[in-house]
Point group: C2
Chain length 209, copies 2
């Protein structure tokens, strides 16, 4: 066992991001990252399996937060509300991390293997949410659909947050996404006989000439 290094994980993550931006993702090695963080490669591999995983190190924490939040939602909470609460509970992870997240997103845009890894992360968040809903007694397809629709909102809201010129926070974009999902579904399709009167249709807007 090496000696304990304070904040080793954060130092490695920060060093990696700096090097990815300075020298490019492809040309950065684990050796470079460890050296920049003032740590050994052995310490690196205690926290991450490879350099790609540095960009996804928070996935497990996010999944844990999803599971905890949905589990602890008050009895009777509607499934999509429980998922929305879980997505809202992630806000602290993103607070003051917009620059970091934007840099990360730029790396994803440039590397297909990172985008693929991100898809796996999102799918695992959806699986965690659906599984936790089922443990609360939510039946299928409701559990999977609430989870997948919630992650769809998260994905869009997260990207909007990163791109927002007004820099409104993640929670605000999440709320806007959930409202938009409700508006989208309310304005569509034919419903059963017990459905409420439809809201006014939201037609496809014509592009201004």
């Amino acid at each position: 066992m090496g000696r304990w290094e304070p904040n080793a994980r954060d130092r490695l993550a920060q060093a990696a991001m700096t090097l990815f931006q300075e020298h490019g993702y492809d040309r950065t090695t684990v050796q470079d990252i460890a050296a920049r963080a003032g740590l050994t490669e052995r310490t690196f591999f205690r926290y991450f399996t490879d350099k790609k995983e540095v960009l996804f190190g928070g996935s497990e924490l996010l999944n844990e937060r999803i599971v905890t939040t949905i589990t602890e939602a008050p009895p009777g909470t509607a499934p999509l509300d429980a998922v929305a609460a879980a997505l809202e509970a992630m806000a602290p992870f993103f607070k003051d991390r917009r620059d970091h997240s934007r840099a990360r997103q730029a790396l994803l845009a440039a590397h297909a293997e990172l985008r693929e890894r991100e898809l796996i992360k999102l799918a695992s968040m959806a699986s965690a949410a659906a599984e936790t809903l089922r443990k609360r007694g939510v039946t299928e397809p409701t559990a999977s659909l609430a989870a997948e629709a919630g992650i769809a909102v998260f994905k869009v809201a997260f990207e909007r947050w990163l791109e927002d010129p007004k820099a409104q926070d993640y929670s605000r974009h999440l709320q806007l996404g959930l409202d938009e999902l409700r508006a989208l579904t309310a304005s569509t399709g034919t419903e059963g006989p017990d459905a409420p009167p439809p809201r006014p249709a939201r037609p496809v807007r014509a592009r201004k000439p």
Copy 2:
């Protein structure tokens, strides 16, 4: 140029699926597949880049169908209705293919690399739908959200179709999924002042003891 082989693509796809089931995915080679189909490896590589792609050969056709259907939706079609029409327009691809699709799904369940490739396929379907909506003048985040929510419904409906002991068809499961998405969003959250009265909440059902 080799001579023209009738239905080469289908013959290769069928040979591959048979071999994957008989000998396992890992132990089947491109050479095996070509031989079983009575074709050359050269012909195989005219259609597929590797054996994995045999299972995803229809992706481009699905994306083309999505683009065409959304493009041709009548003016004023609500965004989610346009996406729903695109998902419904895929039904002919799945007709009489339930056994094939179930065998394919079993392979995905057993191989992480195939599940990852499936996630990429789904993401590319969502991108195609969002891009086509934007070309119709649908603004963001509505376009991305309608596309992602639609693909969420597709994913769940497709799995339900494969698992359905009553063997109801894909279109039926798609419709049930869309209805369920509407019910999920209608029963949730706080809405703006111009929102209609909420439908009765759908509480998380207690599991029977």
